[in-house]
Amino acid sequence: MVKKEETYESMMNKLEAFVKDMDSKDLTLEQSMKNYEEGIKICNKLYITLNKAEGKIKILKGEGNTEEEFLSKEE
């Protein structure tokens, strides 16, 4: 599996599928455990993706000078 090519949406779809799977099907414990494990892994990946996005937003916000700073530079 090439991680980088996996989008947030596709990972989310997978996660939802796992959850649905665990809900509807009469799984063996091993299958349930496998679903759970994969699900948690995907959750963590999704968290990482969101964290990165958040961090980037913070940086972008920090870079954009406020209007007051801009005006004071003018003078």
Binding site: L15, S32, C43, Y47, L50, E54, I57, E67
Partner: protein
């Protein structure tokens, strides 16, 4: 009676002597209308005055013509002060003029009107011929008397308004019969000077006669033909002369002419300052408007920023994770329950439990359960399993 024969010269001399000694002829005022007026290059003027029936030759020498306040013109009604004497060479008597005054101001005014109408008909006053004044002149030419108050006023005004403007003065006569020619020359000279941006023609206040040099046809044409714009400031506000009509701009006084010619540096500075303030203010407000626009868009952007989406996603993932946790926990507990049921069942079926109740199990040597007598018949040794141990027994008899 002896009558002496006289030579012509003798006679003319005699008549002259007689006339010169005559009290009335020697100092008299004569009024009449001027005709054939000619100003000779020598400065002497020759003309005659007449009334309805008679004519009298007149001569005015340079000494007196130079004091004339205006150039007499044919048809002008005048009063002349002078004396009657004989011109020996021709044997004619004539009036030797000392002063010429117009018979009344009306006369001069009529002459003025006549010239004005003539020049107007010739198109000299038309607005389309008026030259525009330079907005920021660097060098001003002034045709005026070098000694009058006019030139001092003009210099004062120009220097006060803009000290960087140069003034070139052409000193001219501004009254008397030669004044017009003199002024024309000045206009020509200043026209030939490339640096001059505008010409001021000025003279301080005076009587109509004193200002008469400015009512000259040739001067009018010189102004009309001038390549450089001419501002006239002749006399006081109430005085109008021909040059005022033909000039490019009429100022009521010499000072006013200077004011019209030179823009005030202070005023210019004020204008520039006002424009500067206006430009700064308008560009500032332009900027502020743009800032507000950007600010508004930024706020909109922030409202729609992925932050909210991310927070929602956190919740969503959290929920899914909780579901996952629940599911797996449920699964495990379900399996646990299942297991414990089987354990209970197993326990229930555990044969060892029977031993606890006091029963025992018999097995062969290989611990195979023996449940019938037929089997036990063939055994000589059995194990008896009790609740607290195993006992080996040897068999002797079977019933």
């Amino acid at each position: 009676m002896y009558i002496k024969t006289l030579t012509v010269s003798d006679l003319n001399n005699y008549i002259k002597k007689s006339m010169d000694n005559d009290f009335i002829l020697n100092n008299t005022y004569i009024k009449g209308e001027i005709s054939n007026f000619k100003l000779h290059t020598s400065g002497h003027a020759y003309f005659s005055i007449k009334d309805d029936t008679s004519k009298l030759s007149c001569v005015m020498f340079r000494t007196y013509t130079s004091k004339l306040k205006f150039l007499p013109q044919d048809g002008m009604k005048v009063v002349i002060k002078g004396k009657i004497s004989v011109y020996l060479k021709d044997g004619t008597y004539q009036l030797y003029c000392e002063e010429i005054k117009s018979e009344g101001l009306g006369e001069l005014y009529l002459a003025f009107q006549k010239l004005k109408e003539k020049l107007e008909a010739e198109g000299l006053f038309e607005a389309k011929h008026k030259k525009a004044l330079p907005k920021y002149p660097r060098k001003i030419g002034v045709v005026t008397s070098p000694t009058g108050a006019a030139i001092r006023d003009i210099i004062n005004v120009i220097k006060r308004r803009n000290n960087n403007v140069d003034v070139l003065i052409y000193p001219a006569l501004v009254q008397g019969i030669n004044a017009s020619e003199n002024i024309i020359k000045g206009i020509e000279v200043l026209n030939a000077n490339k640096d001059i941006d505008v010409i001021i023609l000025a003279r301080g206040g005076g009587s109509m006669e004193e200002l008469w040099s400015f009512n000259d046809e040739k001067l009018a044409y010189a102004i009309y033909n001038s390549k450089k714009p001419i501002i006239t400031g002749v006399g006081h506000e109430i005085d109008f002369t021909i040059v005022d009509f033909v000039g490019d701009l009429r100022a009521p006084t010499p000072s006013a002419a200077a004011e019209l010619a030179v823009p005030s540096l202070d005023d210019l500075r004020d204008t520039v300052m006002n424009n500067k303030i206006f430009i700064i203010a308008s560009s500032n407000s332009f900027l502020i408007e743009r800032f507000n626009q950007v600010k508004f868009l930024k706020r909109t952007l922030e409202l729609k920023s992925p932050e909210n989406y991310i927070i929602n996603q956190y919740n969503h993932i959290g929920n899914l994770k909780d579901i996952l946790d629940n599911k797996i926990c449920n699964k495990v507990s379900v399996e646990k329950d299942k297991l414990s049921k089987y354990v209970a069942l197993l326990n229930a079926h555990n044969p060892l439990n029977i031993l606890n109740k006091g029963y025992s199990i018999i097995t062969d040597k290989k611990d195979k359960v023996i449940s019938s007598v037929e089997v036990i018949k063939h055994q000589n040794l059995v194990n008896i399993h009790l609740k607290d141990g195993v006992v080996s027994m040897s068999l002797t008899e079977v019933n």
